[in-house]
Amino acid sequence: MSALLEIVDVTKRFRGLTAVDNVSLSVESGEIYAVIGPNGAGKTTLFNLVAGAFAPDDGEIRFEGARIDRKAPEQICAAGIARTFQIVKPFPDLSVSDNVAIGAMLRAPDMARARAQGEDILRKLDLYNKRGQKAGSLTLPDRKRLEVARALATKPKLILLDEVMAGLRPTETDRMVAVLREINRADNLTIVMIEHVMRAVMALAGRVHVLHHGASIAEGKPDEVTRDPKVIESYLGMKAAH
């Protein structure tokens, strides 16, 4: 069986800097896959390449077997890949329900149904009671949830989550983990996540891919990867080894 998302020998350079250096990975349908690594490792650049914000300098990206590495972000979203932004990008002057309805209208026949679908998603993410508020007035954890809700509203097959746990308290992290696990299980949604919160990575991810200075240094099950000496040295630090 072929993978849902295949990244093959992808390289992206910014002037002199090689942000993503010959990275390959493949994600199976239904999987939860984490990309970890220190700041500046190229994780977000890798997401931007998949989501169509940039085109890679070398290599190929395939989704459901078809090349997507020269496509525009809106085409990639229409093909079934949704993404969140690490630095959240709500539509601040619009209500929470409008924000999510705009995501849902991609596949809904009209705004009334887009709104109804959006409200279901807001319930799942505990934002329903805040649906009338302007997105700009939400707290950071709520904005993170809104970012996920809006991406889910586009009914993706694959969702790219860029540090959605950052800034959440442990109880909120656990809640988000439960929500993501439920969505993964019930809707067979494939999740690729960039995450620093190891608590969430260990709880969710089936496989973990570690980037360092743009290059892959390890891939495997979470408990294997976290014991890998190279990973401990470059990213987790000595504390995690004990």
């Binding site: 993404r83 932004f85 709500p90 539509f91 601040p92 209500s95 309805a101 705009i102 809006r150 509203a153």
Partner: protein, 330 residues
Amino acid sequence: MFAFLTRRGAIALALLAAALLAAPFLVDRYILSIILLALLGAYLGQAWNILMGFCGLLSLGHAAYLGVGAYASAVLFVNYGIGPWAGVFVAIAAAIALAAAIGWLGFRFRIEGVYFALLTIAFAEIVRIGFDNWPFVGGAAGFFLPVSSATQHQWWNLRGGEVFFYYVALAMAAAALAAAAALRASKLGYALLAIREDPQAARALGVDVTRARFKALFISAALTSVGGVFTAFWTNNLFPAQVLEMSRSIDIILAPIVGGVGTLFGPIVGSFLLVPLGEALTDGLTALGVNAPGAKALVYGLLLMAIIAGTPSGLWPWLSRKLGLQERAE
């Protein structure tokens, strides 16, 4: 369509509509001409607001669409005997062709924000200078339609008296409001709002930003050019220095800015404040014996500053909150 209005808001809208319909029977010709100007301002403001208020694209060159529409329909009528009801489609086509050129340059080369505004000024100036030096349309000396007397009622040729033009302006202002409200509630309307708020996030949610911006630009240009057709047949004379001037573009945008950018009723509220204010100033200063050049502009400018300082997000949001006219913020 106006579900966001409260009961009070709906009643206020109905009363306003009734008052405007009855106005020709209630007020004298002078007052009626001021209301007509306010309606035309509301119409043009609505057209501009679709681009700026909904989509976040600042145009400072809307006079170009107005002028192109006005000249196209007037020349067809005078030189070829083609009436305005057919000419309006040529006017729209000409305005859209101009908008396509601006949009192609602006969107193709990612010219955003104030640079897009500069682009619109540049195009408007090119059009103005072009008409100024084009003998076929009279150049700077102007282009004239045969003056219609009040007795010559040919509605099919947009010829008639002041009351006739008043009702045409009222119908246009009402239609523009309805069109803006329908657009606002549609998928395209939400796509435009998303682009205004954050184009990158909009793209990530599957919105084709360039396509939606073109649509907004075409709708706005087309509506504005229809306002130009009205202007041509109402005033019967066209001068590049009037219909194509930069100051005309500024006139168009003041009403929606004062009334509330991005709101449906902002252009109406703004226009119905600014047009009578301008007229009252002219009368008032004349009565006071002040006839220094620029005195009106100075006082008008000071009043504008006071209004904008008092209600920075526009008069309509403030007014509707004070009077409880709408359910939620638009």
